[in-house]
């Protein structure tokens, strides 16, 4: 090979120079590109730092924490302020799978389902479990996660969030508990009992078994509440609840429906005797003395039972039947137990309907008074008036006193109703006087229950003061039978009324088996001969004789005698012959509304003049 010529060397130099310029240009271009790339990276770095700061703040401030797992599902990252607050140490979990963390409580089924999700690389939401924190407290934890995939779609692990939901779970549990329990007695409430009963019904139906529903109502609980106060009443209910629970088997259900009503569900009963035995135990448990406010008390209960399937095959019917049976037990004297029988239905239903509307009748001013004049048998002059209660029922129309007075008595409603009657009668009488009508004595019936009220005298006195009516224009009519129930007390009571100038009448006289001689003990002004005697005179000899005797005896005691229910001229004639003083009845006038009565008086007064 020959050495290169000078020209070749020159050419090579030129090429090298050109190549160097190219290289320098390339270098400059690459430097610029590097600079730009560097700037872009700086921007990305800053953005990444901001993003990380956001993420850090988010996990620190949020009630959620953040976690990551590798492809073997081992924790590689755990962060978040709520972790430590919840008492979890992230360090003890790192490097472990969730099932290697010893203090996580999950059921076998839950684990199986969760692992299946993980194996399928599927996301999961709201996996909830219990976890025991380092300090030993039990926490409820809820986690969600989704798989991490790289650009090629390969599974790299999981990441997700977790949250301590202990408080929410506790609140939820409490709400659940409150929704299904009576807060006073901690017993199941009506809603829960309904569920349990329905469940038991379907079970009994499937297995062809019998079961019993027992309705338990405390007798006269209202009195306890009224006299001792609600707190004592509540304490009593709590104690009753405890006693019921202790009396029953673990498998039986006792619930409080509200007020003083409890209900018991006896599943898998053999025969009716078994139910009777349990009812007997309950009655015995309730009747044991209670100690309230330092005193000893006794209450009784009335129990009604219905049996599945005989007395009902659904919740409503079983409950209704047991309720009816319970009412029957109450009616038959309380502290008693009755099985349901279909006969009870009709009677009790009417009664229940009447009772509930009676409770509202006072507020709705459905009551009114009608007035029946009393006449002098000899002169024919109007001597007085008897106020009679009427109930104008919105659906039933006029309801006769016979239909509702007994219910009002039993329920105690007669007391406020009776007070209203006295007050209205006094007010009306006073009002008539102000209208210029002559002074008349107005008679008002006092029921047995009213008469047993300690406050009767005071109540009447207050009404007189309030209405401004003279006491001697008010006559209280008390039946003979009421007086004879407790003659000692009656005498005392009547005397007190008498001392205040109030007139007194013995009503329905002749039916109460009082010896005629005992009559003189009672400071009464008037004797009213019961309508049953008047009805059959002058035909019936015995009634004639009795009426005659009553009149005669009253005369010797200087009492006014009034005959009730006089409907015929013959009756009137007989009474006149035997010197009866006054009468009332349809023969002269039926009971009238106030305006009509006023017109009647005005007319009679004008005639007299």
């Amino acid at each position: 090979v020959n050495p290169p010529t000078a020209e070749s060397l020159q050419r090579r130099l030129e090429r090298e120079t050109s190549a160097r310029r190219q290289a320098e240009a390339l270098l400059e271009q690459k430097s610029l590109e590097l600079f730009q790339a560097n700037e872009a990276l700086k921007g990305e770095l800053a953005e990444r730092q901001r993003s990380e700061a956001r993420f850090r703040d988010l996990t620190e401030l949020s009630s959620d924490w953040y976690w990551e797992q590798d492809e073997n599902l081992r924790f590689t990252h755990l962060s978040g302020g709520s972790l430590e607050k919840g008492g979890f140490n992230p360090q003890t979990s790192l490097g472990k799978t969730r099932w290697e963390i010893p203090n996580i409580v999950m059921s076998e089924e839950q684990w199986t389902a969760h692992k299946a999700t993980l194996v399928a690389h599927q996301p999961f939401y709201d996996l909830t479990y219990q976890q025991v924190a380092d300090d030993g407290t039990v926490h409820y934890v809820r986690v969600s996660g989704r798989p991490i995939l790289d650009e090629q779609g390969r599974f790299m692990g999981y990441r997700g969030t977790g949250k301590d939901i202990t408080e929410a779970v506790h609140a939820q549990n409490r709400i659940q508990y409150l929704a299904y329990h009576d807060s006073l007695t901690e017993l199941p409430n009506r809603a829960m009992f309904s569920e349990l009963l329905n469940h038991a019904i379907s079970k009994a139906r499937r297995h062809n078994r019998r079961m019993a529903v027992l309705f338990i109502d405390l007798d006269r609980f209202k009195n306890i509440n009224d006299t001792l106060g609600h707190e004592a009443g509540d304490t009593l209910l709590q104690e009753v609840g405890r006693r019921l629970k202790h009396t029953l088997r673990q498998s039986d259900t006792v619930a409080r429906l509200g007020g003083d009503e409890f209900v018991v569900l006896l599943e898998e009963i053999g025969d009716a005797r078994q139910v009777e035995k349990v009812a007997g135990k309950i009655l015995a448990a309730v009747v044991r003395p209670f100690h309230l406010l330092g005193q000893e008390f006794r209450v009784t209960a009335s129990i009604g039972a219905s049996i599945y399937p005989e007395d009902g095959q659904d919740e409503q019917t079983l409950m209704k039947s047991a309720d009816i049976a319970m009412y029957q037990a109450k009616e038959e004297g309380r502290n008693a137990f009755r099985f349901y029988s279909a006969k009870m239905d009709i009677h009790t239903f009417e009664r229940l309907a009447l009772e509930s509307s009676l409770r509202r009748a006072l507020e709705r001013t459905e009551f009114e008074l009608h007035y029946q004049p009393k006449r002098d048998l000899h002169s024919g002059a109007i001597t007085g008036v008897e106020a009679l209660l009427r109930w104008r029922h919105p659906d039933l129309g006029m309801v006769a006193p016979a239909q509702f007075i007994s219910i009002a008595e039993e329920t105690g409603l007669i007391v406020p109703i009776g007070k209203w009657v006295i007050k209205t009668a006094c007010w009306q009488n006073k009002h008539w006087q102000e209208q210029g009508l002559p002074r008349m004595c107005i008679a008002v019936n006092v029921s047995a229950r009213q008469f047993s009220e300690e406050t009767l005298v005071q109540d009447v006195v207050s009404i007189l003061e309030e209405t401004g009516m003279d006491p001697d224009l008010l006559e209280l009519e008390i039946t003979e039978s009421v007086v004879m129930r407790d003659p000692e007390r009656a005498v005392k009571m009547l005397k007190e009324l008498k001392e205040r100038g109030i007139r007194l009448a013995l009503d329905d006289f002749g039916t109460g088996y009082s010896s005629l001689s005992s009559l003189k003990r009672f400071p009464v002004d008037t004797i009213k001969v019961d309508r049953t005697f008047i009805r059959d005179i002058p035909g019936d000899a015995e009634d004639r004789a009795l009426t005659q005797a009553i009149i005669a005896m009253s005369k010797t005691l200087s009492l006014t005698v009034v005959a009730e229910g006089v409907e015929t001229k013959e009756q009137l004639e007989f009474l006149r012959q035997h010197a009866c003083d006054e009468f009332q009845g349809y023969y002269f006038s039926k009971p009238l509304p106030a305006e009509e009565f006023a017109r009647l008086i005005q007319t009679a007064h004008a005639e007299k003049r």
Partner: protein
Amino acid sequence: MKGIVFREFADMVEQTFSAEILNRIIDASNLATRGAYTAVGTYDHREIVELVNRLSSETGVGIPDLLRAFGRYLFKRFVALYPHFFASAKSAFDFLPQVHNIIHVEVKKLYPDAELPQFETSAPEPDRFVMVYRSTRPFGDLAEGLILGCIEHFGEKISLAREDLPCQNGAHIRFTLIRQK
């Protein structure tokens, strides 16, 4: 094509033939670069095709022979320039798979836009090695030269068989290397 190949080609022409011949083939070619190449630049591969054509005319040596010879030369130069790529390999069978798996990966890092040929290698038997070469450019002979250079470098007794496979343009060749006992 990377500038290093052009520079090495020019050096080979100067050394094997002469500086004057290099000048002549450059002058005879219509080159945008006018024969000035820097190793880190990238140039149109047609320039080297043209230069080889001119060299063949100038010297009377066939183009395939020239390219094979250049391949063998180039391999030696690579060994000299980039010794670290050759440090670990003990034989051609060791080294050749690395061309695709390691060297081309490294080249891509420096020159992301480099258009590299593809090699698929397999060793169906211990002494038999197959390398399928595919390129959009007509450099099958250059590749053969490089493989021969590799065999020479490791001083092994290996026979090389070449089988051209059908292809639209560029090159698609199966090289089979059999180690002699």
